[in-house]
Amino acid sequence: MPPSIHPVDLVATLRQRNLTPAIIFLTSRRACDEAMQSFERSQVVLPKPQQEQIARVLTQVTEQFPSIAEHPLIDTVQRIGVAAHHAGHLPSWKIAVEELMRTGSLDAVFATTTLAAGVDFPARTVVVTQSSIRKARDFTDLTASEIQQLAGRAGRRGKDLVGFAVITPSPYIDLTVLTKGLTGQPEAIHSQFVISYPMVLNLLKAHPREQIQSILAKSFAQFQLNQRTAVLETKLDGLRAEMEPFGPRVCSDWITQWQVFDQARKRKKPRGPSARQESPDVAARLHFLTPGRVVGLVRGRGIILRQYRSKGQHAPMVTLLREGGSLNECPASIVTQVFDRTFDCEETSAYPWCTPHTLEQLTHHLMELPPRLPILPILTHQHEDIPLDSSIIQTLGDFACPSCPSRQACQRDFPRASRVRQEIQRHMKSIQALQTSLWHRFQERIDVLERFGYLNATAQLTADGEWARLIRIDHSLLITELIRAEAFGAIDPPLLAAVMASIAHDDDRPGSFPRGSTGLVTLLFQVRKLAESLAPHEDPPMLRADVAALTERWVADQTLTWIGLARLTTMAEGDMFRLFARTIEFLSQLKTLKHTHPSLAESADRAIDAMRRGVLEELP
């Protein structure tokens, strides 16, 4: 049996059962395009009237967006009444497909799941072929909300009496995920509040520092933190109530008194060298044996993947990736040297304790390591007992409080009372952390901005801060630092647009490499260096050279057509369009600096004008 139903058969079945129009969600753009290709070979042909209707709608849309007229897919769509809709297409083409769906001229649309969140056009039937989606390289199960968003497209109000969500299996489907998602409650949403540099600058511009804590307290993030606090507080109340029967005794703080006594008694107990105690060498190293750390072994070297305690003996153990790629579980004492070198290691909770991708990378790194590595000097602490207070030792014999009336009660209650008190303290600490975490993060940002000179010591905006707060986009720190480093001194519009494009583009789909000019290469090199130096404070952008070069061509060569540009790269048209739209957005932020940086703003303005032509002009 085939692993999944053939697209042509799928549409035929839907047609036969009167389940069209349908949206068919596929895993990738490629799958959508391949599904369309399989139709090109098929013999299916629509009846004439429907073909004419499609043609009519397309002509209408073409009036608004002339670029569609030449679209290579038009014939196929007209002949078979099926289209693909995904982010690789130009927005104008997507609008055309949406319009066709809205007028009911198409029988089916192959779409990627990104559609579910974006534009909304309904259908009678939705076909789901997957239970997970690709999110940042990895596949994650669809959430109930996402599944309901997908299924929600089924059933057009006023046009359908019922809607259908049809599941058809493909190799990577997990039916349970889908049935649970269809029948379950959508997930609760959680605040994703992050404090960005422009936010700090803008808040400090409008409000004195003292007021800001109260503004942050108005965020949904704080609201949800407070909800968690409330839960902790009820627990805390419970614990306090549990403390009550132990009530005040003769001494005001009998628990602490007993704690001292308890510790002293334990300390005084003769204690032989315990077998479980690891040697001081190993104990000192343990802190450094973190995932990703390169260590020297008796023979060869390895990378730590996890540290754990063996069952039973509780001996310190490590999982090692050794040269040659084998994974070993060994006692921690096997490590002879700890090197001053760690690699990123994305941990997982099950064997092999890191993601397959990490494992692959680490194996690679391990082979590439230079023969000599700096060794971390590790100080070993010898266990040394702090001498006890002599007064306690003296009284230990008949401690505590021999004459105290509550002695017996204290002795009886101490273990529980001290445990409850520890719990109370832990809860209080977490409550405090929850209440102040946002403010702390804000303070951290202030510190960084102060160090770079956007704020003065009293957290007021400096001259640089005044204009820097107008840059309210991702990677704002990199952009403002570039401006301050005069990297854009008297920059040409093409170069400026190119650099902005490389900062703005955050997609890692591969593209081919049109060559940039020498000026661009040098400039990008500088930008990359600066971005790396800012890495502790701001995640560096991808700074892809190919998208920079592509943008440079488009701006510099005014005779270049969109088709000509598309020939230079393997990027999808939709991706190119998004790249340019985002670049224009970044450039228009630079345009707002016209008072402080007139030549830069002027250059940005000219770059925008130069970019807006052809497809980019016609489209909203």
Partner: protein, 357 residues
């Protein structure tokens, strides 16, 4: 057998076998998907690898034996004898086995497919929740959380119309430029082209119109500019802010923009948040009530305006209902249609070997 080989072998087995293998080894194993189950099994086998391997071998043997002697599975949907119970999402489920399903014969394909068609054209009557939302909006801020396709746009349009009649400015934000553009076209058609403006990162038209459509980022920037004291934006005449797709509040990258916008939104403007179904809309309403002078009402319902049915289409083009009931049995994912269940198990067994990622 090395761990790698064991993993390969496990991955080739049908899920049902893995669950049997997991019995007694892993607690709550029925909650995990196949991949997770294999990982857990390998993890659990650290202690007793030979035991796992021998059990696995026995199960595989048993299965292949059963395959040879298995009787032909019955096919075809059973005829319908009883009317199915109305599936109500809020129904309590104390005796689920008796109430739904196992005594009740599963829905037939014919019944499941019946009722396809176009409803008769009726004069448009707004739903009760739509009327309610609009009434509440006269007094308070409103959060609307309803399933996709329930008619949130109607509420937005009516609210806009009423605000514009009072000569108040309306701002409509959406998360995506594409959506902004669609809305711009749609609203221009409704209210007349001069009445609608659009502001996005790279487009600016009719910026002085009484109804402005923008992306949320632009509104956030306007509010910051206003707070910094440099621009006019007619914030004092701003009467209504509509935020479409407010579930973006939880977007990892952009969610913060929605929060900033809501925190700084002028207090005299009414807020109308339109969101798809989410789990905790009450939290959002409570939050807005806490930070804004006007209280915030929540309009929420989970019933779809067009009923939804779920089906299963096998690669051999055989279509069956997915659940025993025609509608979706909310809260009871285990009520699978026996036919769908059988076909899917068959599918998993057939495609098993190719299912290693």
């Amino acid at each position: 057998m090395t761990t790698k080989e064991l993993e390969q072998v496990l991955l080739q087995q049908p899920v049902s076998l893995l669950h049997r293998l997991a019995r007694g080894r892993i607690s709550r194993h029925f909650r995990s998907g196949k991949r997770k189950l294999v990982d857990l099994l390998i993890q659990a086998s650290v202690e007793n690898r030979p035991g796992l391997e021998s059990d696995l071998a026995a199960l595989i043997e048993e299965q292949s034996h059963r395959h040879q002697t298995a009787p032909p599975v019955e096919t075809g949907a059973k005829p319908k004898t009883h009317p199915r119970p109305a599936a109500s999402p809020a129904a309590p489920r104390p005796h689920k086995a008796e109430e739904h399903g196992h005594h009740e014969p599963p829905v037939s394909l014919h019944e499941w497919l019946s009722g396809i068609g176009v409803p008769q054209a009726q004069p448009f009557v707004p739903d009760a929740w739509q009327v309610d939302a609009l009434a509440r909006l006269a007094e308070t801020d409103v959060v609307v959380s309803v399933p996709t396709g329930s008619g949130k746009t109607y509420v937005a349009i009516e609210a806009t119309r009423r605000a514009m009649q009072d000569n108040r400015t309306v701002i409509y934000t959406s998360p995506l430029k594409a959506l902004s553009n669609t809305k711009f076209t749609e609203f221009s058609r409704l209210f007349g082209p001069g009445q609608v403006g659009i502001l996005t990162g790279d487009r600016r038209e009719h910026a002085q119109a009484p109804l402005l459509i923008m992306t949320t980022e632009i509104l956030r920037n306007l509010l910051y500019d206003a707070a910094g004291g440099e621009i006019d934006v007619r914030l004092d005449t701003l009467g209504l802010v509509i935020m479409d797709e407010s579930q973006y509040l939880a977007d990892p990258e952009r969610g913060v923009v929605w929060e900033e916008t809501l925190i700084f939104c002028p207090s005299q403007a009414r807020l109308l948040l339109l969101s798809a179904s989410i789990g905790n809309p009450q939290d959002i309403a409570d939050w807005l009530t806490a930070i804004r002078p006007t209280p915030c009402a929540l309009i929420r319902h989970t019933k779809r305006s067009v009923p939804l049915r779920a089906g299963y289409l096998h690669p051999n083009e055989k279509l069956t209902p997915l659940f025993r009931t025609a509608g979706i049995p909310y809260g009871q994912p285990h009520l699978l249609h026996p036919e769908a269940k059988r076909l899917f198990t068959e599918y998993e067994e057939d495609t098993g070997p190719s299912r290693s990622r």
